[in-house]
Each structure stands twice: as C-alpha cells, then as structure tokens.
C-alpha cells in the first residue's frame, strides 16, 4: 500500500503530473471435499488447450418479457410477458366506520379478460404475503367488503388478490386501517367556538396529519442490513408496459411511463437476498399526497424475478414512488424514493378496451380535426387582401396542425428569464444546468431574456442568477403560468428526452425593488419626471434655436463653406429626429382619467380576422413601449398593472392598419 504525491512545477512545457496507488485484490478458492483439480489449470486460460466454448445459459432472452434474463444466452421458452401477469386491483382503500364499528374496504377491479374473483385477506399483525396468508375477509367478484370483527386501538392490514380463471393470483394490493380508541364522552365543557379542529378529510376521527398513508413509512429500521440489499438502488427495478421499451430509473430516481397502459414492475431475484419477506411499492397521488396506493411484488413462475402488474394509472402527473423492502420481523431494511412520471393518460381512457378504442378513435379525431382546421383556415382565403394576410393565414394553419397533432400552442424553442413583477425579460441573467449538483452547462440570456439548452436525456436542475433578483420566485410559487408565460420553472428536477430543448420560463423576484411602494408613489414620481423632462426639453429647444439663429445670420452675411455646413446640420437635425421617430417610434400607454402613464402595462397585438395574438410587450416604468409587427391590420389590448401586482384589461382598440408594422400613436384609455 503506497500513497505518493508528485509535485511538478509547470514551466514553459507541461511535465507529467501524476499520482499512483496500488491495491491488492484477493480471492480464496477452496476445495473442501478435495474435488477440485489437484494440479495446475485453475479456472482460467490454459495455454495448451483452446478455451472451451462456453455452455449456453438457459433463460428468457426476450427483453420485452418480464422475466428477461440478461445473462441468458439461449432462450428456454420460459419468457413471461406483462400481459400474462394477473393485474392487481386499483384504488384499494379501507375506512373505519365509527357508527357501525366496522371497516369498509373498496377497490376497482382490473379490466382483465381472465378475471375470476377478488380475495381479500387480513394479515396477522402485518400485510399478508399471499392469498392464503391470513384471515379471509371476502371472496367474490365485487368491489367492496366489510370487516366487522375489529377492536378499537388496533391496526388492520389487508391485501386484495385478483384471481384469474386459471387459478393464478395477482401480487396483491395493500391497505391498512387504524381503528381509533374509544374515547370517553366529552364532559360538559364544549370546545371554545374559535378553536379549529385539525383537518380530517375522510372523517375517520384521525387528523390527516396523524395518519400514515404509506403503511411502510414508519416501520422500524432493521439493525442489520444484508449487503446485497444495502447496494440496491432504483436502477435495479425495471418498468415494463405492453408495446413500450423497458424503462429503468434514470439518473437515480425518475422513470417515465404511459399512464394508459398496464404497468409491470420487476426486479431480478438475483438482486435481492433469498430470505426477504416483502417488496412493496407505494405510489402517492400527484394531486393529493394524502392518497396512496400500495402493492406487493411476488416471485414469478420461474422464481427469477419479483414482479407485480397494476392497472393503468390513468391520471397524468408526477407520482412520488416509494419502494420498501421488509424482512421477516417486519423491519424496514431498505427504502427507496423516486418519481414516476406518468404521461398521456386519460386521453385514451384506461384499460385494454379503451386502449383499443383509442387506437381506432385517434386517427378519426386527427383526421377530423385536420379537416376542420384546414376548412377553417381555407375559409379565410376569401378575406386575403394583402401578402401579410396570406402570411398570417399560413401561420394560423401551422398552429392548427400543431394543435391537431398534440403539440402545445405556446411552446417556443427557448425559455425566458423574466421579472415576476414587471414581466419584462431579464438580460443578462446567468442560467446554470446542473446534474446531481454538478454544473453541466451555462448560458447568458439574450436581450429578450431568452436561453436554451440541448442536453442528453436525463434529469437536470436549473438555477437562474441575476443581481438583485431571487430564484426561485416566491411571488409565483406553485403557479404553472401567469399572464404572459406558461411552463414556469421554480426549481427541482426535470426530465429531458432525446432531442428535447430545455425551454422552461423562469420568473425571478426582484429583491431590490418594492412594487407596492412604487405603486404608492407613482403619482408623484410621474409628476416629477414629467416636469424634469419638460424643463430639459425647453433648455434643449432654446439652445437649438439660438444656434440656428447664429448659423443663419452667419450664412446670410458670410456665406463660406463652413457656415453652409453648419446651417445644413442645423436644418438636418429636426429632419433626422423626425425620421428616427417615425422609424423607431417609442409610444406610451396613458390613462385619460389621470393623465398619467401606465407603468408596466402589457400591450398585446392581435390579428382581427382570427383573433390570434401576434406580439406582446411590457411597458417600462414610464409607460413607454416599442412594438414592431409585420405590416398588416391589428387591434391592441392594454392590461393595466394593479397595485396588488395583478393585471386588468382596460382597453381593446378597434383594428388599425399598420402598413409599415409600427404603431404611430400612443395608446390611451
């Protein structure tokens, strides 16, 4: 064992800077029964003899099978496909009925062609591991059951097994119910009227915050953990869906699935010790984290993997997922947490029947939508009066096509960093892409606050930095869109697919600017500013006039080249100013009531014939804005910023013809 350090000075030529370490690795090979070879040969290469052909490793070699064996070299016909698995029920829950002192269990049966019945088992102290591991509570084809043999103060553990008409069972869906202690009736005193009771959504007498939706969350930790389990991570679990590729947890903790299809979860048996009791998976509802759904993984028919199949999740969203591995003493020996990104659910419904219906309906809807969109667009051809009309109709057609094919209308191939108060793009802002805390890429936003990254598929986090601004935005926390921007980003891990550009819009909160204070003072601010500008304009005009008089005097009485040039410049100045003003007109949003400009108002330009927004801009603190559009006819709207930071539409102009694509008047309301 050595550790050395070479320190070398970099002069004009770079010398090698290196450090080395040696580690000895050893393996004991023992032959307790003296059955090994007695002499040389070992297990390795013997130079005299060519290495023998490796014997085929029998197993399932089809990657789409749930018991795919990556080490197998020859398919032995043992492949089991997700469709062969008996799917579990979904939505298996239990509630204690205080009035009847019983536990009501309910579930949704899977849409399964070989469905026979449901078997509800109550475990003895913990969850049942199989359809015979406990007390039978219910057996039949229904979707509810009652357990009236319960005692206050106890926790009851149930598993629902789906039985197929071939006698096979699903892995089991889980539910647990706490029966509360019977409390003595309250004495005379009523609780004070202003004392609020803690929230209790399911009215079971247990405050939500005291409930344990994930039954595995609070299991005691086992003091000794098998090294094999210690090394387990999400990468060991595989997610399989019919017609989809095998999905693994990528970048540690996230996997994408199709919410409209059955889902089979699998882990190879070789990845876990043989003496373990339970592998359970709990999913949280993405919209209500108090709702959970748990199910077991069970050994497959060939004992090569632990697997479970559940019905389509249906609802899109980011489902937090917890994988719990429990030993025979009901102690937690490993708990993994990640995310299941469920997409495209709901559009086609759930289950195989609706899946088939979806396959048929989809092209019909697409074709119909396309025809309607084309008809709608071509009907506008009769209104074409200029090339700009034709241009916008083509743009509209593309929008219709994008809508038909499921692309979002507002998605742009870039993201924008902007001020959450004023909505103005921020430049320069420094955007950093991180992966597992390490910087992967950076970008500086352009004049329009835009940035974009094209990255390898994976999970990334963004951080946006700008002096006097705060990320993530607190003002817009939890919002997915605001008046101008959608697809907002507030931090956290996000997934990118192959060829996908990161284009989330990032709001930043100004921390050196108080909008409310500014709103309160804006009256005086504008009066002062206006006076100041007027005074400056008067001084400039006086100086200009004096110069023009002197130049004209000298031109008349001493007409040399120098005086001609001076006079020409004086005459050219107002002409040039007028030209510049026409070319780049900065206009203002004003209130006719107060006579004051409207700071940070949103000005939007629309095509009148199709009501399509083509441009939007945010005015500055003095209500000034600059809006350039393609030549054509537009109407404009003004949304005035209110004192609480929200916006209110205060004006919609009649259509205006902008032959040069510039607005040549202030907008007043």
């Amino acid at each position: 064992m050595r550790k050395i350090l070479f320190l070398i000075i970099f002069a004009f030529s770079l010398q090698a800077l290196a450090a080395t370490d040696n580690v000895d690795i050893s393996v004991e090979v023992s032959c307790p029964e003296d059955n090994c070879a007695s002499s040389s040969g070992g297990g390795g290469e013997e130079e005299e003899d060519p290495p023998p052909d490796p014997d085929p490793v029998l197993g399932c070699t089809d990657p789409s099978a749930s018991n795919y064996n990556s080490a197998a070299t020859q398919n032995d016909g043992s492949c089991i496909y997700p469709s062969d698995e008996v799917p579990n029920v979904s939505g298996f829950t239990g509630d204690y009925d205080e009035t009847n002192e019983e536990i009501n269990l309910s579930w949704n049966n899977p849409n399964f062609a070989e469905f026979d019945s449901i078997r509800i088992i109550r475990g003895n102290g913990f969850f049942p591991t199989g359809p015979t591991d406990g007390i039978l509570i219910y057996s039949g084809p229904g979707e509810s059951a009652v357990d009236n043999n319960v005692t206050p103060g106890n926790t009851y553990y149930y598993a629902a097994f789906v039985r197929s008409n071939t006698g096979d069972y699903s892995s089991g869906a889980l539910a647990s119910v706490v029966v509360p202690e019977i409390e003595p009736p309250p004495e005379e005193e009523e609780p004070p009227p202003d004392e609020e009771l803690p929230p209790d959504e399911d009215d079971d007498g247990i405050p939500d915050e005291e409930e344990t939706p994930d039954p595995f969350e609070n299991l005691p930790q086992a003091p000794i953990v098998d090294p094999i389990v210690e090394q387990l991570d999400f990468g060991d679990f595989v997610f399989i869906q019919p017609g989809e590729g095998r999905q693994y947890f990528t970048s540690g903790s996230t996997v994408r699935i199709n919410g409209a299809k059955d889902l089979t979860v699998l882990i190879e048996a070789s990845r876990v010790p043989s003496n373990l009791k339970t592998i359970a998976i709990t999913l949280r509802d993405p919209q209500n984290w108090r709702k959970t759904f748990s199910f077991l993984l069970k050994p497959n028919q060939t004992n090569t993997a632990f697997t479970a199949t559940i019905a389509p999740l249906g609802k899109s969203g980011n489902y937090p997922i917890f994988i719990s591995i429990v030993d025979f003493e009901n102690q937690s020996i490993k708990r993994l947490q990640g995310n299941l990104l469920v997409a495209a659910a709901g559009a086609l419904g759930t289950g195989r029947i609706t899946e088939v219906a979806g396959r048929i309906a989809t092209p019909i809807f697409i074709t119909t939508g396309l025809a309607v969109g084309l008809a709608e667009s071509f009907s506008l051809l009769g209104h074409i009066q200029s090339f700009s009309d034709l241009y916008w109709i083509i743009i509209h057609l593309f929008n219709v096509l994008a809508r038909v094919f499921g692309f979002r209308r507002k998605v742009k191939p870039w993201g924008t960093v902007y001020d959450s108060v004023t909505k103005r793009p921020l430049d320069p802002a420094y955007v950093v892409v991180q992966r597992k805390g390490e910087e992967v890429n950076t970008a500086i936003t352009d004049l329009d606050g835009r940035y974009g990254f094209l990255l390898a598929p994976g999970a990334y986090e963004l951080v946006a930095n700008k002096t006097h601004y705060q990320f993530p935005s607190v003002r817009l926390a939890g919002q997915t869109n605001d008046e101008l921007y959608d697809n907002l980003y507030h931090g956290g891990e996000m997934q990118t697919a192959e060829g996908e550009v990161i284009n989330r819009n990032i709001p930043l909160d100004p921390i050196a600017f108080d909008w409310n204070e500014f709103a309160k003072d804006k009256q005086g601010f504008f009066v002062l500013t206006t006076k100041k500008e007027k005074r400056r304009a008067r001084i400039s005009a006086a100086l200009y006039l004096a110069g023009l008089i002197f130049a004209t005097y000298h031109l008349l009485f001493n007409p040399n080249w120098l005086n001609i040039i001076a006079a020409t410049l004086y005459l050219a100045t107002p002409l040039g100013r007028a030209w510049w003003k026409r070319r780049r007109p900065i206009k203002q949003v004003k209130s006719l009531v107060t006579g004051l400009p409207s700071p940070y108002a949103i000005v939007k330009a629309f095509l009148p014939k199709v009501n399509q927004q083509v441009r939007s801009v945010v005015a500055d603190a003095l209500g000034r804005f600059f809006l350039l559009t393609p030549p054509g006819e537009y109407y404009f709207t003004i949304e005035e910023k209110q004192d609480d930071g929200s916006y209110k539409k205060v004006l919609e102009t009649p259509p205006m013809n902008l032959p040069k694509g510039v607005l040549d008047q202030d907008l007043t309301y």
Partner: protein
C-alpha cells in the same frame, strides 16, 4: 513528504510550507521578492516511489493526489460448486489543475488474478464495448470490474441496456477486463480541490460450476494512476 499536503481546513489546503529563520517580502518599482533565509534541508531527493522538492521556491503550480484505499478481499469461492464473489475499491482524486485529471487502472500481471502458476482469466466482454450485464458461462472463470462515479468516462456509461452509449451510470453494469496497459475509467476537465471526486471499481470474480479450479489464494495487484490533463 508522506502526504500531498501539510495542513488543511474545511475550505483550504496548504500544499507546502517552509522551515526557516529569516527572510521576508521586499519590493522596488519593477520587482517584488519573497525571500527566505536559513532554510534547512533543501534540494531534490527521490526514491522509487517518492519524489521531494524541498525548499522555498520549490512550491508547485499545480497539485494532484490520489487516496490510498485498503486492500480488498473478495471472499471465498467453493471450487467444487463454483460461484461468484464481489467487492469494490474506491479512489479519490484531488487536483487543483484547471484542466482536470484522468484516472486509469491496470493490473500488474496478465491475467490479473493469479495464484502461482494458476490463474483466473480476465473478463471477456462479448463486443468492443463492456458488457452491460456480467455474464460468465458455467465452464468459464473470470475476473473483471465495473467503474462507478460522477467522472466515469463514456465507455462505462450506458443507456439502460448497452454500454459506451447513453448517459447513465447504472450500478453494477458495464463490465470490463483489466489489462497490463492503463485503461481510463474516469476523467474530468476541471479541478476538484479540495473535496476531490471518488471513483469506485466494482470487482467481480466467478468460477463456473463445471470448472475444476486449483485451490489457493488468487491475488491481483491493481495500479491506479491519476494524471493531470
């Protein structure tokens, strides 16, 4: 010098210091000097494994160090039934070199695992890229490694089913063989001082059930070399 630095705190490391009794900072219009007087034990010395540049002004422009993990015993395999054993070893490389470093490994012998004249063959990936999953037949006996860490090179990254493609570094995947030539397993294009970055080699040895190995202790010496880029 027994270690790569002489003093450290949470955020800083002092790469070298000086034993002396005089000197100081002086400057003129055009020059500045930090002088040292009476310094002891100066000059260069080196042995097979160590090199020292003692004395003021020998301070380096860049530094690089590698940790010294313990030897690894993979355990025991019953030669009559065959089986596999696993283990791991991790090296942490620390460098303030702005161009980063490369970490390479090699074995001192070919094949790596030997016991006298008996050997266990190096792992044989099925193609040019490492094998995504470890696979040794019942008549084979092999020894290989799988690198893990944030700086693992592309050859050992995967897409969930193949190696040398994709961007994932799934655990216990992309198995490769040791060679007596250096095989790069990790690299970085930037410095990482003072925290450093660990790269782990998962190790596995397997003796097939149909093999009749010679018993004994099979040993391999793995040499890890970190080089500044």
């Amino acid at each position: 010098m027994a270690s790569g630095y002489v003093a450290s705190s949470t955020n800083y490391r002092l790469e070298s210091d000086s034993v002396n009794f005089g000197g100081g900072f002086s400057s003129s219009t055009n020059y500045e000097i930090e002088s040292t007087a009476g310094e002891v034990a100066t000059g260069e010395s080196e042995s097979t494994n160590y090199k020292i540049k003692a004395g003021y002004q020998q301070m380096l422009a860049s530094s690089l160090s590698i940790s010294a993990p313990s030897n690894v015993s993979l355990g025991s395999i019953d030669g009559t039934t065959g089986g596999s054993v696993t283990g791991s070893v991790a090296w942490t490389v620390i460098t303030d070199n702005s161009a980063g470093y490369i970490l390479a490994v090699r074995s001192s012998t070919n094949p790596a695992l030997t016991s006298g004249s008996n050997t266990i063959a190096d792992y044989t990936p099925t193609g040019a890229a490492p094998d995504y999953a470890w696979s040794v037949g019942t008549s084979g006996s092999e020894f290989g490694f799988s690198p893990e860490g944030t700086h693992v090179v592309q050859r050992y990254l995967d897409n969930g089913s193949s190696c040398n493609t994709g961007a994932s570094n799934n655990s216990d995947t992309c198995w490769d063989a040791f060679s007596t030539s250096n095989t790069t397993v990790a690299s970085s294009a930037s410095g990482n001082s003072p925290t450093g970055t660990a790269s782990t080699l998962k190790l596995q040895a397997q003796i097939g059930a149909d093999v009749e190995p010679s018993d004994g202790t099979y040993a391999a010496t793995i040499i890890a070399t970190a080089t500044a880029q």
